[in-house]
């Protein structure tokens, strides 16, 4: 079709890189907390040594979140409007659900951490279950905030929360492996055995495979989809978002780590595992970028 739009109001990207970073941090937090809970909640005893560190790590990641979110508001001092239950907060808006998740999740983690520190199995288990539900809820809601916008094309997809959770899982484990490896360099006692970190990389591998599977399904959907989905597909594969999606997420974040983790000669070498973890952890940020920004960019031209 020949034609040109010669006058239009081009709008801002409404949510930018800081919000993508927020999704990434929440994801990392949820992922590392899931690992933390393996030993004390789900009874996989060999993961008990990492539980305390992983839980605290998740708390630290989550503490950065309100800073980003509140600065990003146009009116930062009004953040409490989200929490005024009877008068202001609007329960049909997923952002309100998320505000409560973000508030309660760190509290649950702190209590869980305390009982892990004290070695109290019963209470650690009870609060661990609670905090795991909150961890998943916190990250689930970020997917839902993005998902419930019918006009934003790749986002309006029931797989969105699942993609977010899988990304959270792999990036959380990746971040945890890298930070524990660095910690091992400096710590004098309670050094986490390398074999445990390599075991964790196996868990990450399953996540990567599942993430690729979900992405492949999304790819199929877009290939057979509407014109708008074709446009979206072009943009993330060859267009504006190719760096965020194709290079950063798919190749750097998923395919190369997948290769590293399945080649028998190197998958048990600590340096390769740390490299793969680093690549996955950073690559997932690419997913957050295109997922948050691509649709608003494309729609912003209408």
């Amino acid at each position: 079709m020949d034609g040109q739009i010669i006058a239009n109001a081009y709008h801002h990207e409404y949510w930018g890189f800081p919000i993508a970073l927020y999704f990434w941090l929440v994801g990392g937090s949820a992922g590392s907390f899931v690992i933390s809970s393996l030993g004390w909640v789900f009874g996989v005893k060999k993961y008990k040594p990492v539980a305390f560190f992983a839980s605290n790590f998740a708390i630290v990641l989550l503490l950065l979140v309100p800073i980003l979110l509140i600065i990003d508001l146009g009116k930062p001092y009004r953040f409490f409007h989200l929490l005024m239950v009877t008068s202001f907060s609007h329960w049909s808006a997923p952002m309100v659900w998320g505000s409560w998740f973000i508030l309660t999740y760190p509290v649950g983690m702190v209590i869980y951490s305390y009982f892990v520190y004290k070695g109290n199995q019963t209470y650690a288990r009870i609060f661990g279950i609670l905090a795991v539900v909150l961890a998943i809820g916190t990250h689930w809601y970020t997917g839902v905030v993005i998902q419930l916008n019918p006009s934003r094309d790749p986002n309006h997809d029931s797989a969105a929360p699942l993609l977010f959770l899988t990304g959270a899982y792999v990036s959380g484990i990746g971040l945890l492996i890298v930070s524990m490896w660095i910690r091992n360099k400096f710590a004098r006692r309670e050094i986490v055995p390398e074999s445990l970190l390599i075991d964790m990389s196996k868990l990450m591998l399953y996540g990567i495979v599942f993430d690729l599977f979900l992405l492949f399904n999304d790819f199929l959907l877009a290939t057979y989809g509407t014109g708008e989905e074709h446009t979206m597909l072009y943009d993330v594969l060859l267009g504006v978002f190719r760096w965020a999606y194709l290079y950063m997420e798919v190749i750097w974040g998923l395919l190369l780590p997948l290769l590293i983790l399945i080649i028998p000669k190197i998958r048990n070498s600590m340096y390769w595992v740390v490299l793969a973890s680093f690549m996955t952890a950073t690559g997932v940020y690419g997913m957050r970028i295109w997922w948050v920004m691509a649709s608003t960019y494309y729609q912003g031209h209408f």
């Binding site: 020949d2 034609g3 081009y10 009116k75 202001f88 049909s92």
Partner: protein
């Protein structure tokens, strides 16, 4: 369609309700000359900051020389019957007036921009921090409100009053004798993006399917206009708040890095002003 309400205090659509009004607009594109009188009246009337619009006129040139035609399309908030902005607003800052206006409460809005993401028509904007009159609301979402302040006093909205070609028709759809009800009844009318399920209440007569298509708008965006917008928004003091939030058309690796850096720079440099300029 079955009646839907939103939130705990949702107000159901007033269309065909006895004793209620349902204000709507018909834009007769056969009569629209694209003079932008509506845009300038709206801009000046509401002190809309540079780079933002409550109402704007989209223009497209379609065809190959010499068979070309220019289409115009005035765009404004569609005052939908099933508005996704209300559904997604976390603080009830945006709400529906019983007569069909979708309104914005500036003192509740926290500026989270969810409504903008939810709106399929890009009809919402964030008011700039730097207003001509500093008493005006800043950093909150704003939108066209069908000039409720004029309509409740018996005047036509600014865009309708200023329309040189008489293309904009405004009135109560529930009154079968009103001009707007007759126009909708007697003409074939179209709405923008009906598939979104928002039931928009701005109707167009003679709408060209190309200019109404987001895909066309994207694929045939003018590089020149796009670059000018980018230059303006990243360079201007007035539009600079979210300057980093525009994506370069050419986005190679360094473009991405530049863009990330610029976005975080504006993000953090705007923060002190937001926190220390006063409580509200």
């Amino acid at each position: 369609m079955a009646e839907r309400t939103f939130g705990f205090n949702g107000i159901s659509p007033s269309l065909d309700k006895v004793g209620r009004k349902r204000y709507a607009m018909v834009v007769d594109l056969r009569r629209c000359t694209g003079c932008n009188a509506c845009t300038s009246a709206c801009k000046t009337g509401y002190d809309v900051p540079l780079g933002e619009w409550r109402l704007w006129v989209m223009e497209a040139e379609v065809g190959r020389f010499p068979d070309t035609k220019r289409y115009v399309l005035p765009r404004l908030c569609n005052q939908c019957d099933q508005p996704s902005c209300i559904r997604n607003c976390p603080t009830k800052a945006t709400y529906r007036h019983p007569d069909g206006f979708i309104l914005q409460r500036y003192n509740r809005c926290i500026g989270c921009r969810t409504c903008m993401v939810a709106c399929p028509y890009n009809a919402r904007h964030l008011l700039s921090d730097k207003r001509r009159d500093p008493r005006n609301p800043r950093d909150v979402a704003d939108k066209c409100d069908f000039c409720i302040i004029r309509v409740t006093r018996g005047l036509a909205p600014l865009c309708v009053a200023s329309c040189t070609g008489g293309a904009m028709i405004f009135g109560d759809r529930n009154d079968p004798k009103s001009e707007v009800a007759r126009s909708i009844r007697d003409n074939k009318t179209f709405t923008l993006r009906p598939q979104m399920g928002n039931e928009p209440q701005v109707f167009y007569i003679g709408l060209d399917s190309r200019i109404a298509d987001p895909e066309f708008a994207y694929h045939n965006r003018s590089e020149q206009v796009h670059n000018r917008e980018n230059t303006f928004k990243t360079g201007s003091e007035l539009g600079g708040d979210f300057g980093g939030d525009i994506i370069d058309t050419e986005m190679d690796f360094w473009g991405l890095m530049r863009h990330i850096g610029r976005n975080f720079k504006t993000f953090f440099s705007a923060a002190p002003n937001k926190f220390f300029r006063g409580l509200y």
